[in-house]
């Protein structure tokens, strides 16, 4: 793409190919990638894990791993070639021409050095100023990244800061030497939604103010669409589509981009209205990229020509985008992709009867769960009551540390409650085995949830044996095959160890295992959050299908509001170990709702992209060991009434039928407050402020 290079380019990457050597074998991870970023431009690089995003970033920083080999191409930074540059030049360019913010701020900061010093260092060694001057500059920089008390932060060690604060320090450090290009490599992954929103706000503001160019790397289309001017989509080490953010994310011209967008439940979608459309198949394994179009095997519209050679990235007609698809201009075919994928995945959604009001299968009453460690006691769940009914999906949301998982494990019986009663099933469900066949659980991380030393057949077989006593060996074998089929595993998978399976297949095994005993209740603890979006869609669809088929009750835990909203019949919201709101999904999404729910909603990237107003949390997250008095949320509540909230624990207010929230503000008043725009600056789109359940076309918006 050399013709695109101009004097204005901060970064220009052309025909870059990188491979990793592993055991004397070279594995291509980046193939023939070209793109450039102009001064002041924000460029987003999007793709699923393993597509080569971070490798490109590290190549730009000239900091590839020892076993990485640049096979060809060029990387120019303000016109100077990075590949093969002298160490002294690189040292000079780093920080001043290009700086980076990493995915994991915790490990990217030196644990034995005060953060102020770590920042001041940059001034000391780049501007060659005295330590005093460097410290003064550091203070100014900390003010710029909006620390409430920058002076004290200077003196802190990394471990004394929260994840969000650490990332602010990293951003301050990256911007210290006024780089021409800022690389952000998944800067908010691992942060809570509310914190993520704050960091993104900050980045957005800084980029706007400073005019630094940015290379933004993310798997999250919603974030990219919010921040970037142009977007490149990577698949298996190749750029498959590039163009202005609005175009790529709204009218993609590559089947992969289309597939990605269709995999995500867009804001407001629910399972009863629409089915997610995952991309069939798996991306090629590392080092096994086929000679032709790498996506051909998963593509609904692939032709023989696609297998011959990788299609070039070429302009599409009528738009500014470039696409590496031979049928890039075939808009009608792109629609066909959708249809074919749909057909491949399963039946279209069916509206299901109302599930609320059937008999309770799990009843939690005033449950308390404490943990003690290092001499302090944390109350992870306090006085929590809720009911799960037969056949319903109850979504449980909250930030990390809110007690979601603890509650789930207490319900499952993995933890013994320190107070209150957990009733699972009816009076007949007494023994461990009865309980086991009644309730099962699916965990977040299939890597650790499956015993790595057991083959799939044994993983399922053992569960069949335990949960279906009395079956003969043949019957058990048949049941295993049955279960495998129901979670869409092939027979050949049965003989594999989990290590040989992809993340999605592993999670199917885990789900299959949970279903071997035909349970009534399944607790799903973030079952899809560790997976790439296209795989996540498959898993969510599978869960929906199984639930319908077996009339199951799900307790579905997620930090992702879009997913929870998509899946749940009812939603429960937890904050600091307390249940702050519970009610039918759509009712909870709508005012009046708990101010914390309001904040969560406003922080949801998909919701932001959908135009919700941003409401900011105040103050730091309080410690569970020492929860605030009165309303636990009062220290951060944007709607706090002051004294009352700080001293008196709020009552449960009834907003609607079956919809309750814990607040001092009564429903009508709260509904009025929340219908107004609290922050004019953040509300970019007045029409959508209250448009919480607007249905938009599925291919236009992403989620987080």
């Amino acid at each position: 793409m050399s013709e695109l290079r101009s004097a204005d380019d901060v970064l220009s990457v052309s025909n870059l190919s990188i491979s990793y050597r592993r055991r004397a074998r070279a594995m291509r991870v980046v193939s023939d990638v070209s793109f450039s970023i102009r001064r002041g431009e924000a460029y987003g690089l999007v793709g699923e894990s393993g597509c080569g995003k971070s490798t490109i970033a590290m190549a730009v920083m000239a900091y590839l791993a020892d076993n990485a080999l640049i096979d060809g191409g060029s990387i120019r930074l303000l016109g100077d070639e990075v590949i093969g540059a002298r160490a002294a030049d690189l040292r000079e360019w780093r920080a001043s021409r290009v700086a980076m913010v990493y995915q994991d701020p915790g490990s990217s900061l030196n644990p034995t050095m005060r953060v102020g010093r770590q920042l001041a260092e940059v001034y000391r060694y780049h501007d060659h100023v005295s330590w005093d001057a460097a410290n003064a500059s550091a203070l100014t920089m900390f003010e710029r990244v909006q620390f409430a008390d920058p002076r004290t932060i200077l003196e802190r060690y990394p471990h004394e800061l929260s994840g969000g604060q650490q990332q602010r320090v990293m951003i301050a450090m990256a911007l210290a030497a006024n780089p021409a290009l800022l690389i952000l490599d998944e800067p908010t992954t691992g942060l809570d939604a509310t914190v993520e929103a704050e960091i993104l706000d900050l980045v957005e503001e800084l980029l706007r103010d400073i005019g630094t160019a940015a290379l933004f790397i993310s798997h999250n289309l919603a974030i990219v669409s919010r921040l970037c001017d142009r977007v490149g989509v990577l698949y298996a080490g190749r750029l498959v589509e590039e163009g202005p953010a609005s175009e790529v994310l709204h009218t993609p011209h590559h089947p992969y981009s289309i597939g990605l967008l269709n995999s995500i439940p867009h804001w407001g979608a629910t399972k009863d209205h629409l089915r997610l459309l995952p991309i069939p198949g798996d991306p090629p394994a590392l080092g096994q990229i086929p000679s032709g179009c790498a996506f051909a095997s998963r593509c609904a519209i692939a032709e023989d020509a696609c297998l011959a050679a990788p299609p070039p990235l070429a302009p599409c007609s009528g738009v500014h985008s470039l696409s590496a698809c031979l049928r890039r201009d075939d808009a009608a075919d792109l629609a066909a992709v959708v249809a074919k994928n749909e057909a491949a995945d399963g039946p279209a959604p069916v509206a299901t009867p109302v599930r609320i009001g059937r008999e309770a299968v799990v009843e939690v009453t005033d449950v308390i769960k404490r943990f003690s460690a290092h001499g302090t006691t944390l109350t992870a769940v306090s006085d929590l009551s809720l009911t799960l009914h037969r056949g319903e999906i109850l979504g449980l949301v909250g930030e990390s540390g809110s007690g979601k998982t603890t509650l789930a494990r207490t319900i499952a019986g993995l933890y013994r409650a320190d107070g209150g009663v957990v009733r699972v099933g009816d009076a007949t469900t007494r023994s461990r085995r009865e309980r086991a066949s009644f309730l099962q659980m699916v965990f977040q991380n299939p890597d650790t949830a499956l015993n790595a030393k057991f083959r799939v057949a044994r993983l399922l077989g053992r569960s069949v044996k335990r949960l279906n006593p009395g079956l003969s060996a043949d019957e058990r074998q048949a049941k295993v095959l049955d279960v495998a089929r129901s979670v869409k595993l092939q027979e050949s998978h049965l003989d594999l160890l989990p290590g040989a399976l992809s993340g999605g297949l592993k999670q199917r095994v885990a789900i299959g295992r949970a279903f071997t005993g035909d349970p009534t209740v399944v607790v799903l603890d973030e079952p899809a959050s560790a997976l790439d979006v296209s795989v996540q869609a498959t898993i969510l669809n599978l869960l929906v299908d199984l639930q319908r088929e077996h009339d199951l009750a799900y307790l579905f835990i997620s930090h992702d509001l879009s997913v929870v909203r998509y899946l749940s019949d009812r939603i429960a919201v937890m904050y600091l170990g307390e249940l702050v709101e519970i009610g039918p999904a759509e009712s909870v999404m709508r005012p009046p709702h708990h101010p914390y729910t309001e904040v969560l909603l406003s922080a949801n990237a998909a919701a932001i992209a959908a135009g919700r107003a941003r409401i900011r949390l105040r103050g730091p997250s309080p410690s569970l060991a020492n929860p605030p008095s009165g309303c636990r949320f009062h220290t951060r509540c944007p709607r706090s009434l002051g004294e009352l909230c700080a001293t008196v624990a709020p009552p449960m207010q009834v907003a609607d039928a079956g919809h309750q929230y814990r607040c001092h503000i009564e429903p009508s008043a709260l509904a009025t407050l929340q219908s107004l725009r609290p922050d004019a600056a953040a509300a970019r789109d007045a029409e959508t402020t209250t448009d919480t359940d607007a249905t938009t076309t599925r291919s236009t918006r992403g989620h987080s």
Binding site: A412, L414, L439, Q440, M441, K453, F454, D495
Partner: protein
């Protein structure tokens, strides 16, 4: 059941393939090769030394005592006129008997203790770990000296002693990995389907901690050889007239100046074995860590 046949074949294949890959990786490591060749040599020697020695290692020849290396006695003769070459070859048996058995004992004991304490945690764990701490506060050799000077020595005593001394060390390693495994969801899921503790410990967790146990075994084996030899040297292990290296070095020390070959060859032999075992252990550790 052709599907089953097929599957069992593919299972075998995949297992073989994995073993091949691991082994192949090991073979590519030069230090492993060197170490393994030496270790295998000494193991073969320990078993078949009868066929290898040119002379009876116990045969006395008082008139030919303390002779330097000659064509008849490649490594010279010792103070009783015995052939040092033959004795050096025969000397590997005792240490290669004691060390693996002691290691096995220590690994078995340590695995059981580590599994139980790591899995159950709580008061038992705290108590056992305090005891382990207390036990580990004594240098290994001191414990050995203490016990052996009290109980007297025999090969069995030495094996049991080293095994017992290793148990807390191994249990710590095993416990630390069990602590990690215990909190993994596959254990939770086993509990959720009502598995008993014993099943979870042995069938679920144990297979997942074999790698550190294997690594620990190889490391322990090196220490066991080291310890057994040191005990022999301190006259607390093997007894005369065994050609055991440590014992020979201890006894031959007084002839160091006039007949250094008596001590030199067993010392070199011991050094090669110990270093070789450690080379192998190190390589295994590295490959396993990947």
């Amino acid at each position: 059941m052709s599907a089953l046949e097929l599957s069992s074949r593919s299972r075998l294949d995949s297992r073989r393939a994995r073993a091949r890959a691991t082994f192949g990786q090991l073979l590519r490591s030069a230090s492993f090769d060197v170490g393994a060749v030496i270790v295998v040599f000494w193991i073969v020697d320990a078993i078949f030394w009868h066929a290898l020695v040119p002379q009876d290692p116990q045969a006395l020849n008082p008139l030919a005592a303390l002779q330097g290396p000659t064509a008849a006695h490649w490594f010279g003769t010792d103070w009783l006129g015995r052939d040092v070459f033959s004795r050096t070859l025969a000397g590997s048996t005792s240490v290669l008997e004691i060390a693996p058995l002691a290691t096995l004992l220590g690994i078995a004991g340590g695995t059981v203790v580590g599994l139980v304490t790591g899995y159950y945690g709580g008061a038992v764990d705290a108590l056992v770990m305090r005891l382990v701490d207390a036990f580990l506060a004594f240098p290994l050799v001191i414990i050995a000296v203490l016990v052996l000077s009290l109980l007297g020595t025999s090969e069995i005593t030495v094996i049991v002693l080293i095994g017992v001394i290793f148990t807390p060390v191994v249990s710590r390693t095993v416990r630390s990995v069990v602590l990690v495994e215990r909190d993994k969801e596959y254990v939770a899921s086993a509990r959720l389907r009502g598995e008993g503790d014993w099943y979870i410990m042995t069938a679920e967790i144990l297979p997942n901690v074999t790698t550190p146990i294997i690594v620990e075994s190889t490391v322990r084996l090196g220490y066991a050889i080291f310890t057994a030899a040191t005990l022999s040297f301190l006259s607390l292990g093997i007894q005369q007239p065994s050609p055991d290296w440590g014992l020979t070095i201890s006894l031959g020390r007084q002839y160091l100046q006039i007949a250094p070959w008596i001590v030199l060859f067993p010392a070199v032999a011991l050094a090669t074995l110990v270093v070789a075992v450690n080379l192998v252990a190190d390589s295994i550790q590295q490959v396993m860590a990947q």
